[in-house]
Point group: C2
Chain length 308, copies 2
Amino acid sequence: MSLIVVGTMAFDALETPFGKVDKIIGGSATYVAWSASNFTQPIKQVSIIGGDFPQSEIDALKKRGVEFDGVEVVPDGKSFFWSGRYHMDMNTRDTLITDLNVLAQFNPQIPENYQDCEFLMLGNLAPAVQMSVINQMKKRPKLIVMDTMNFWMESAMDDLHKVLGMVDVLMVNDSEARQLSGEYSLVKAALKIQKMGPKYLIIKKGEHGALLFHGTNVFFAPALPLEEVFDPTGAGDTFAGGFIGHIARTKDISFENMKTAIIVGSAMASFCVEKFGPERLVELTHAEIEQRIEEFVELVNFDINLVQ
Amino acid sequence: MSLIVVGTMAFDALETPFGKVDKIIGGSATYVAWSASNFTQPIKQVSIIGGDFPQSEIDALKKRGVEFDGVEVVPDGKSFFWSGRYHMDMNTRDTLITDLNVLAQFNPQIPENYQDCEFLMLGNLAPAVQMSVINQMKKRPKLIVMDTMNFWMESAMDDLHKVLGMVDVLMVNDSEARQLSGEYSLVKAALKIQKMGPKYLIIKKGEHGALLFHGTNVFFAPALPLEEVFDPTGAGDTFAGGFIGHIARTKDISFENMKTAIIVGSAMASFCVEKFGPERLVELTHAEIEQRIEEFVELVNFDINLVQ
């Protein structure tokens, strides 16, 4: 019943219209783990960190059922570092610094006790690295979900196409879906991308919600309208964590259950943006999560009784 | 049980990435009438047109239960003309020409047989004109809905504030809500705007759906993801027509019923954008409308069963 999460564990420096932090814990696998661990444990983490990654953060994640056998530590290396500045609309950002550091040598080894996992979440990484993880699995997981980004579409499209042929669910944002497909219409983009491999496509639209496509079926989940979006960093990975966490908990990979998983992911993402970095996720209670999911039900629930 | 619709009846010239038309029927009251008449008749139209407005269009609307007693015809005048060009994203457009023509002398007179109407839809017009209509009603309608635009916020803010104090529902798009309130967050904007008068606020976000605010309650309706948005002209007015048409049909002005009305409005708007101008609305059948509303139910319907 367990879940493998592959991705970065890093430091971020962030600037938003509401404030600034010079160094905070970040990385796709960090956000996915904090989010998914609310729904399923253990989480079998695969990543690479430098000797500078705080032991306290590792301990906190371990307490949440995150296993570190697949996390390579490079004692004299530095962890991946990303720095960005958000614009007023919080949907767009400039990358200021990308220091790959130990990530440059990331060649993940899947430990023996990670085999037989049913669910695999591939955070945004070089497609070749994502592919290497899939190839190391002795038994194909029941569901493979991957994230990617425009950078790989520009620099590693061949590899990206190969991985796309190996996964079940692709998660990208709207501009990435357009870039990958060459189609402006998201409906057309979704049809094209499904032909590349993934039978399910999730298009994240930030404050405008998320779409799930499967064949000609479409499901839409809104983002919760918030008084303040404090820091959107990690929202996409937190969404992914809620999605895969719910799927791993229920072991149900039907389209119907993926709809619920997207609502769970959206609820988790709505917490993430309330504070800097993963701060809000760390302090979150089950009661708060359930209440937030109820807010989503309220948000979209309507009574259709159109007898003319 | 009848509905008064106040607004423009006009000619438009449109350019979208998909094509171009030099002269097509347009105007807020035209779209509202075509849309609302699917749900309620008669529609008591209030507008002004020139002698150039085609009799065939008037006849077609009359067949749909649209009454013209409140439509002033200026035989030697020209109808309002608007010309615009849409950008690739279809959410933004440039106004190329605005010829007010007879609209410059629009001083609506509410006919005696329009009195006692329960529902009043004020399309986008000078706030002073909207106010004059409200003041002419001998008995206050059960529900007054108004549309407005950024132009009036810049040129007639005092009048606009006066009208806002007299209506129940305000419909604006997201950038207009931000401009009117001075708040970037739509949640904060909604709270501020409700204090200006309207107890219900609908924020239209085009392809990103629509939000209904009432107190601290929020409802979100998505836009249907479409393969092609051919021409967004009139989509907002068509949405308004579906909304007020459903309300007038059901005579239920509760928040719960407004949710359904917004879904109906969204369904109508999704048709509007499929062809140039009101073409698609004119040919629409009840069966198509019901099927489209079903698609909205499918689009947002999810099963929440989160027993942990």
